[in-house]
Symmetry: C2
């Protein structure tokens, strides 16, 4: 039975990308589903404010949900030459992700908005790929954020693009508490 | 303060559609975020098995989360002339959604996989649109499932298409407990 279970368990590398809503929200849904199955889940947040009151409050209901908000606002984005302090923070945040992934203590590790750090070149994609290639087989990893690099998509098992078809801002509606944050 | 709150509250009609993963999962994430904000959430399930052990177990942690699994397997799909028993079940399930939405007792009502019933013509889209047009202003509604009809997209405030870029089945990997169900 144990052997069978081990054979069936294949830790997935999952990417939620695209310009639409639902990348972090689907990761949150997967985290809750995993917690409901008795899994241990860790979540590292690259961007300040990515997870707010609603999520954090719900997450507190689960003792096996470890959340580490590492990110704060980055200084200089969208430039050929990012600020070294931003790169240092992004790399430090990935090192923490790597530690949690390689520890084999969690069933699922969510690296929330890591693609953001990658697409702004704050973090070398090789660093992420190196960790993922050494990942314990049973560990599932979710990487979220728009503009997932091609090398990461190549390595992943499950990649979904969330495309924005229609957004409430287009109708002049403000972000809604409890739904969007 | 109350007046200000009422002015700010604009119940959104949200659609998660497309052929990819994450439609129901993002709705689940939104439900947990809303619960974390103290909202009351109802979820009606059109398809049996759409929400399984992981979600249901996690949902039990929240006393304000009401889940009603109405659907069971439909008899005859993908045909010009669906089975009347299937239509009757789909319509009964929508009437329950309408009751919950119009009751004004919930902040968020998730109609999980309703688009599935619509795209297989088990349910007339007019029935759904009629309810949504009469929805209390503060109530948020999420409609999930692939192939959301154009009339529904037209009416919605927030529409996201989840596109499958890569799926583990392509690598011969079986569905993973705690992640995909």
């Amino acid at each position: 039975m144990e052997a069978e279970k081990k054979n069936q368990r294949h830790g997935l590398i999952i990417i939620n990308t695209g310009n639409g809503k639902g990348k972090t929200t689907a990761a949150l849904g997967t985290a809750f589903r995993a917690l409901g199955q008795g899994f241990k889940v860790a979540m590292v947040q690259f961007i300040k404010g990515g997870w707010r009151y609603g999520e954090l409050n719900a997450a507190e209901k689960f003792e096996n949900f470890f959340i580490e908000p590492m990110g704060h606002g980055f200084l200089k984005l969208g430039d050929e030459n990012p600020d070294p302090a931003d790169c240092e923070l992004a790399e430090r945040t990935w090192r923490r992700c790597a530690e949690l992934i390689l520890s084999d203590q969690y069933d699922l590790v969510v690296c929330d908005e890591v693609n953001y750090a990658l697409s702004y070149r704050l973090l070398p994609v090789e660093m992420v790929i190196d960790t993922l290639k050494r990942k314990p087989p049973r560990v599932h990893v979710i990487l979220t954020g728009r503009d997932a690099p091609a090398e990461l998509v190549e390595l992943a098992d499950l990649v979904t693009e969330m495309r924005e078809i229609k957004h409430p801002f287009q109708k002049g509606i403000k972000a809604q508490r409890g739904i969007e944050f």
